[in-house]
């Protein structure tokens, strides 16, 4: 029992630390990749090729003045950044990032926990993430914030629906909700080959769920100045920022687990494969941001309800028919 607790705590600490480090360096990666795409250099001053930039940014944010607007609802205003970041970090508890390793004669499974409703757990936690944005927008008592919050809640509810439906095909084929089982079911062929439509819908919804370009209407700096976090400064702003990037890592890891065979792959060790796939997705996210212009709001809602939802339903129907046929 004691040993179990120690192993668990170490696992949580390692995953949590790696996640935060990834998130911090994601900001650097994004600026570098976008710089490259736009034929610039990106950050170069702090450290070799700007490698210490995230640390400098973090320190800068920490020392900024922490402003609470006079007319803001204080309690909710302080609560909102926490509500945004906690769900973003918790989802990683059920994502398997490797098979088993032997350390000091003990076999250790490379996931924090394997619950039999794993995928539902992630969706439940992710559905709570929207509150951070909604509450931040409402409590700031600013019309731009509120507009951003309204947009994001409508957008996230709409796209969550298609996202949930897009993975039903995978669940039907894997016959399990546990992420560990889903990875095992892909040992022969990855689900991206069997569920290409589902994968595409998942990818589009993932971009929309993380409020990234071209679906970054809740923030839309050119029209809403910055949407729900206009009024936030200092560490609270940093928390929203961290939450957004942590969400990107989570959806990338989930995409890897559901469609790209998780940690499985030849030659390289499992954890390396997992990281490779996750970073491929993260690169795709940055690439999309650098390439595509923002959608208009009515286009976004129309696309979600009139295209993605029917297509994902049709995908489930076709998957079911083919599975029944065989």
């Amino acid at each position: 029992m004691f040993e179990f607790i120690i192993i668990m705590l170490v696992k949580i600490a390692v995953v949590f630390g790696a996640l935060l480090l990834t998130v911090a360096y994601l900001t650097w990666l994004e600026r570098k990749v976008i710089g490259d795409i736009q034929v610039r250099l990106g950050p170069m001053r702090v450290g070799y090729h700007g490698l210490l930039q995230p640390i400098a940014d973090g320190l800068k944010l920490l020392f900024k003045e922490d402003i609470i607007p006079a007319e803001a609802d204080r309690t909710v205003y302080l609560l909102a950044p926490l509500v945004a970041i906690i769900p973003a970090l918790i989802s990683f508890a059920v994502i398997p990032f490797g098979s088993q390793v032997k350390i000091l004669g003990r076999t250790i499974d490379l996931y924090i926990t394997d619950v039999n409703i794993g995928i539902l757990f992630i969706f439940a936690v992710a559905s709570l993430g929207v509150y951070g944005i909604v509450l931040a927008g409402w409590s700031s008592n600013n019309k731009y914030s509120l507009l951003g919050a309204m947009r994001s809640s409508a957008q996230m509810i709409s796209y969550e629906l298609s996202m949930g439906l897009s993975i039903v095909g995978v669940l039907m084929m894997a016959q399990s909700l546990s992420l560990v089982q889903i990875v095992k079911a892909q040992s022969v062929v990855w689900f991206i080959l069997l569920q290409p439509v589902g994968f595409l819908i998942y990818l589009i919804c993932a971009v929309a769920e993380t409020n990234r370009a071209p679906f970054d209407l809740p923030e839309a700096e050119t029209e809403l100045v910055a949407g729900f976090h206009v009024e936030y400064s200092s560490m609270k702003f940093a928390l929203f920022f961290l939450a957004e990037y942590a969400n990107i890592v989570t959806v990338s890891a989930l995409a890897t687990t559901l469609f790209l065979g998780g940690w499985q792959g030849p030659l390289l060790p499992p954890v390396a494969w997992f990281l490779l796939k996750v970073f491929a997705f993260i690169f795709l996210f940055v690439w999309l941001r650098a390439t595509l212009p923002r959608f208009r709001y009515d286009q976004l809602m129309g696309f979600g309800w009139k295209v993605l939802l029917p297509v994902s339903l049709a995908n489930i129907l076709v998957t079911g028919l083919i599975m029944a046929w065989r």
């Binding site: 539902l120 709570l128 409508a154």
Partner: protein, 170 residues
């Protein structure tokens, strides 16, 4: 351990339920209601109903309450916030009803009516088969007709909500 967790979750649920009905600001009411739902989800986990717990969070906390908050923010409710909770005879009726309900429950406990025949799904069997699998199998066999009927209800609700909330029908 199990009892302690139950007590904590139950106290959170009760306190936030009371907060829902005494808060003046509807946004705060909604937030406390979310807290109640989350602690109920924790209780469902303790009752080994993992699937229900997940659905509770996804449907109630993740969809229904977001809709509530959406509407509260959409309507400009500053005027109503100023009004106090109405006391008087309504409070009296409410408390009377609550007392009758709790009294009835006490009578039921005293009479020992709460004895049923144990069914076939013992906790051990369910955890061996998997909670979600059992729920799914029953949903598509014994409860197929009500399951199909709920889809009709949902369709009616979609149509009704759009017709009611749309500004004008072209």
């Amino acid at each position: 351990m199990e009892l302690g967790l139950f007590i904590v979750l139950a106290l959170v649920a009760m306190a936030s339920a009371i907060a829902v009905i005494i808060q003046r600001n509807p946004v705060y009411s909604a937030l406390y209601l979310i807290l109640t739902f989350l602690s109920l989800a924790g209780l469902y986990l303790q009752l080994q109903a993992q699937f229900i717990a997940a659905i509770q969070v996804i449907v109630y906390a993740g969809a229904i309450m977001v809709l509530f908050l959406f509407v509260i923010m959409l309507l400009d409710l500053r005027k109503e916030e100023q009004r106090a909770v109405k006391g008087g005879y309504q409070l009296l009726i409410g408390l009377l009803l609550a007392a009758i309900l709790l009294g009835e429950l006490g009578l039921v406990f005293g009479g020992g009516v709460l004895k049923g025949v144990p069914g076939e799904f013992s906790p051990e069997k369910v955890s061996a088969l998997g909670n979600t699998q059992v729920v799914g199998r029953l949903l598509f066999t014994d409860f197929l007709l009500p399951f199909e009927l709920t889809s009709v209800i949902l369709l009616v609700a979609i149509v009704g909500a759009i017709v009611l909330a749309k500004r004008r029908l072209d």
